[in-house]
């Protein structure tokens, strides 16, 4: 089975200041995402989960190692080729600050399609917003939406575009239990038809819905679980 995205021996370091100390954040991570798969990434705060997602989705270059998206090596692509690859195949939901402040919720949802010069009907956009329970707020700008509502607009945006692979960085972190569960249901509907979801989460129940769970600790893969229960995930994180 071909993989949608993979990292091989991925290393990422940050240099603090000019000529300052070098901080290793990811230390030799190898992981794949198969078509149709739901991969969850868990681990303590600061363990490198967001950084892994950025590197895997091509938003941030790796320091060493290989990153491939749909079989193409990210490091070998020109900036514009990478932008086009991401635009056409990858969706990303950030931990926070996802939306363009000058655009309404509806315009934000339609933006990626517009950038890709792909047709998206007003009905599709409205359906995506209705799916996340925000039909009424379609004309609102991000500034007038709550943090959780903004997050749901961001989710609606990736859902409307139907990219091959969706990366989501704690998409339910800012949501109450009910709307969190609702958003999770929507995202969990992504894997299938050859499309995949990679999600960072602190929520053990959410992680337990994944096909596979990657447990990170100090920038390395501590363990990997297949179809775990919430209990299994809890144990893997704590021991």
């Amino acid at each position: 089975m071909p993989v949608l995205a993979e990292v091989v021996d991925l290393t990422k370091t940050f240099t603090l200041g000019r000529g300052g100390s070098v901080v290793p954040v990811l230390r030799g991570i190898t992981a794949q995402v198969a078509p149709g798969e739901f991969l969850a990434v868990v681990g303590p705060s600061g363990s490198g989960k967001s950084t892994l997602l950025y590197c895997m989705s091509g938003l941030e270059p790796a320091t060493a190692g290989v990153v491939r998206i749909l079989g193409r090596t990210v490091g070998a692509l020109s900036r514009s080729a990478l932008a086009a690859l991401r635009r056409d195949h990858v969706g990303f939901v950030f931990q926070s600050y996802n939306l363009i402040p000058s655009l309404s919720a509806r315009e934000n949802v339609a933006l990626p399609a517009r950038l890709a010069r792909r047709r998206i009907s007003a009905a599709e956009v409205d359906r995506a917003l209705a799916d996340v329970g925000l039909a009424e707020q379609a004309a609102h700008r991000p500034g007038t939406l709550s943090g959780g509502q903004q997050q749901r607009v961001a989710v609606a945006r990736v859902l409307a575009l139907r990219p091959d692979i969706v990366f989501a960085d704690e998409p339910t972190g800012a949501l109450d239990t009910e709307s969190g569960a609702q958003v999770l249901d929507l995202l969990a509907g992504v894997p299938g038809d050859g499309r995949s979801l990679v999600m960072v989460t602190h929520d053990l129940q959410a992680a337990a819905r994944a096909d596979r769970v990657l447990v990170l600790r100090d920038g390395a893969v501590h363990s990997e679980l297949r179809n775990p229960s919430a209990d299994d995930v809890f144990k893997a994180i704590t021991c």
Partner: protein, 436 residues
């Protein structure tokens, strides 16, 4: 208190550097006018008469430009930091205190900039006057004077303009519930307020006064009052900008269909949404267009197409034009961090570098074209008034000057939007988003 003031100045260095630059430039331009008067007082006789003749126009041009440019910049300085003020309030700083801190910051920066500007002007005054007045036989060997007596009023003027414009915004900042400022990063609308309305109406009264006096003015003396009209109209337009600018922007930019280009779409929505930001850039360019266009239109209309001497144009317009164009560029530079963030989000949503760079370029085009529309309207008022007073039906529109300044404005704003954006695109999206 001092720590809060200083640490905030450092954290927002980019914003405050812009304010400092404009305070410096305002003072330098003011110094030219002040020196004209001081030299006239000291020289006496025919030299004094010749210098007094230009001092009035110089002061008028400088004051109008300074009020609009320094006012726009100081207002922007505050509105870019509303979020920080909100955070201060949330940790327990009282609103009145926020206002004091902001006013002190502005006064401090204006004082430093004002002093620097006067010092910077000193070595330039001699060459400037010699060049500008070389064609006048009596004045060619002039040694301009500029002492403390002239410098202090200039510095005080700069402080007054900067703090007044800034504290009004600061007062608004203090009265906005902090949670709201945190939410609405960029306040979508800039409100019309009493001070703006009064300033606009007062300027209208001055314009009316000039118009009434025109028929009684001899043809050869008509050009001076006429050339004041266009910048004054620009002042009125700036004062009432909250009433119409967002609409004007939205309406004319709609001429390009939304489907035609994603970069235009992005530029259009940012400029129309961030009106506070757009106004700060548009107003100075409007003034620049009105100043230059107005001068040439006035001369062309009143003296039947007689040419204007380059030397006197440099002396009268050089400083104010420089200040206005510098102001437009500085406002873009000041808000570039926020622009970087927005573009990072657009890149994350799938935009290519080309789209982002094009959006930055379109933004400059939108600013310049909007300002040119407004500036040209102001020049038209001069032209029509001139045609009416001079009894000619072919008033000069100063089109060459308008086009030149618009072109210059476009080049500068393009540089100010595109270059920082290109630099920001070299950073990775997560880093740009994490900053601030």
């Amino acid at each position: 208190m001092l720590r809060l003031i200083v640490s905030d100045l450092l954290a927002n260095a980019r914003i405050w550097l812009g304010t400092l630059l404009i305070a410096t430039a305002t003072a330098a331009v003011g110094a030219v006018a002040a020196s004209d008067i001081q030299t006239a007082i000291e020289a006496g006789g025919t030299v004094a008469l010749a210098l007094y003749a230009i001092s009035g126009v110089m002061i008028a041009f400088t004051t109008i430009t300074a009020l609009i440019v320094a006012g726009s910049v100081a207002g922007l300085t505050v509105s870019l930091q509303l979020r920080a003020y909100a955070l201060w309030q949330l940790v327990g700083v009282r609103p009145a205190y926020v206002r004091i801190v902001v006013t002190t910051q502005l006064a401090l920066v204006a004082l430093i900039g004002g002093t620097l500007g006067c010092l910077a002007a000193l070595p330039a005054l001699g060459p400037l006057y010699r060049y500008a007045l070389a064609e006048s036989p009596d004045l060619g060997e002039l040694h301009p004077a500029f002492g403390a007596g002239a410098a202090v009023p200039v510095v005080l003027f700069v402080i007054a303009v900067v703090t007044l414009a800034g504290t009004r915004s600061a007062g608004r900042a203090a009265h906005t519930p902090p949670i709201r400022s945190l939410h609405e990063i960029d306040r979508p609308d800039q409100r019309m307020n009493f001070a703006r309305a009064m300033a606009g109406l007062a300027t209208l009264v001055i314009i009316a006064g000039i118009l009434v006096s025109l028929p009684a003015t001899a043809l050869e003396q008509l050009s001076v009052p006429l050339m004041l009209i266009a910048p004054l109209v620009a002042g009125v337009l700036a004062a009432f900008a909250p009433l119409y600018l967002a609409r004007l922007l939205r309406d004319w930019t709609a001429l390009v269909p939304e489907r035609a280009s994603s970069s235009w779409y992005l530029a259009r929505s940012t400029t129309a949404f961030g009106v506070a930001r757009s106004t700060a850039t548009i107003n100075p360019i409007t003034v620049a267009v009105a100043l230059a266009g107005g001068l040439y239109s006035a001369n062309g209309t009143a003296s039947g197409g007689g040419s204007v001497r380059t030397g006197s144009v440099v002396l009268l317009l050089g400083g104010p034009l420089l200040l206005a164009l510098l102001g437009a560029t500085a406002t873009i530079f000041m808000s570039s961090r926020r622009r970087d963030r927005e573009f990072a989000l657009v890149v994350a949503a799938g935009a290519t570098r080309t789209v982002v760079l094009a959006a930055a370029a379109w933004e400059a085009v939108i600013y310049t074209v909007t300002a040119t529309i407004l500036g040209a309207a102001a020049v038209c008022v001069t032209a029509v008034a001139g045609g009416w007073a001079a009894g000619t039906w072919t008033p000069s529109l100063g089109l060459g000057a308008v086009a030149t300044i618009a072109g210059l404005g476009l080049v500068l704003t393009l540089a100010a939007t595109v270059l920082p954006t290109a630099a920001a695109l070299r950073h990775e999206v997560p880093q740009t988003l994490a900053a601030e």
